[in-house]
Symmetry: C2
Subunit: 201 residues, 2 copies
DNA sequence: CTGCATTGAATGAATATTCAATCAACGCGT
DNA sequence: ACGCGTTGATTGAATATTCATTCAATGCAG
């Protein structure tokens, strides 16, 4: 039920338990169906306690989003040995591997649904804007390293990073909102793209 | 207020007026804030009338989604003269032009928010799955034509189409959920991609 | 007159939020 | 060690509002 929940179950304080419960309710019912009562379903303690820790539903959800994004960044932002080509390939595999563990589907679903809220909620938009910058910077660094190393052509790192990141977002949406996601084709084309556009001869 | 509403205002029957009102309410309040009362705000007639034409909110919204997607497909699916290269460029301009008319922002916002619902609603997912296939087919035809014409390399049309379509989805989401969308960079990189990967020498 | 469109008011369920009341831990002076 | 006040965590019940839906009644065109 709570597989893939990024908020640890063991020795958890109330704070973490609230985040866990919110995650589970979000995955189970979706953002549009997310209510305080449903969060309480997954929360071992009393519903009123949520209001002791947060000003209200909005406050709770914004904090939840912030932590989700932190987890998402932490998942990517790890030590990566190897040259730029290897690091980029590992990145592409991470976001566009055809097989996806069931645990990760819930996480991606939650993220995709939260992201859509950014269309109407400024606070959400701010979080995602910051997160996007982080990932594009991360990618641009890899590209820039590759150019210095001489393995990549002299492309504009920001421009390439923006495009790959956009694809990453598209793949995530495709994964959880289509009955026939095309992740395998995109993954293959990404290799062809790297070969044709990035790799020096 | 209703700029960019794809449902015509003139000589409208009740059916169309309901769609118009739903669109306006969706753009104004977002999917999570979409209620029958809010739809009624933009509906010149009585709220009860909605239930005379639809079984309920769900029924109404599924029909609305269906018509939104029809409009979206109709917007793209038009006669396109010129060779494959020109037709592809026109497609890329249509989805990734840096400047976006304010009228279109509402439409894209609505579409992005509806799409996110597909993560938890099978009926939504079916509609988008079908729509995705339509666009990928459209793109794949252009690529295949280009290969026959000798202007494109012998790539896999489906694979390239899937990737470009994924980028299109990513750009739409980026446009309406970020304070700093990177559409211009992606548009430029798409040109470089076509040059490096598709164009025959 | 008859069938369809339309209305306004009403209803009951869902939902977010509040509140008064325990409970458990802790510091502190004696 | 013992009372004691303070503080924060926790609870169950209550409240006020929003929301989807229903329904009986009215208008109206053929």
């Amino acid at each position: 039920m709570s597989a893939g929940n990024p908020f640890p179950e063991d020795a958890e304080d109330t704070q973490t338990a609230i985040m866990r419960a919110t995650f589970d309710a979000l995955v189970e019912y979706g953002y549009a169906g997310l209510t305080i009562d449903r969060i309480d379903e997954f929360f071992p303690k009393s519903k009123s306690l949520l209001y002791h820790h947060y000003d209200g539903k909005d406050d709770l959800l914004v904090d939840f989003l912030s932590r989700m994004i932190d987890d998402y960044e932490a998942e990517i932002d790890c030590e990566t040995p190897g040259d730029a080509r290897e690091r980029l390939d590992r990145w592409l595999d991470a976001i566009a591997r055809p097989e996806l563990a069931e645990e990760d589907r819930g996480f991606i679903r939650a993220l995709v649904e939260l992201r859509a809220q950014a269309a109407h909620d400024e606070r959400y938009r701010e979080h995602f804007t910051r997160s996007d910058r982080f990932f594009r910077g991360w990618l641009a660094d890899i590209i820039a390293d590759g150019i210095e190393e001489g393995v990549f052509r002299e492309v504009d790192p920001e421009q390439v990073a923006a495009t790959i990141h956009t694809i990453a977002g598209g793949v995530m949406t495709d994964r959880v909102t289509s009955d026939d996601p095309q992740v395998a084709d995109v993954r293959a084309e990404l290799d062809a793209y790297v070969e044709a556009r990035l790799l020096a001869d």
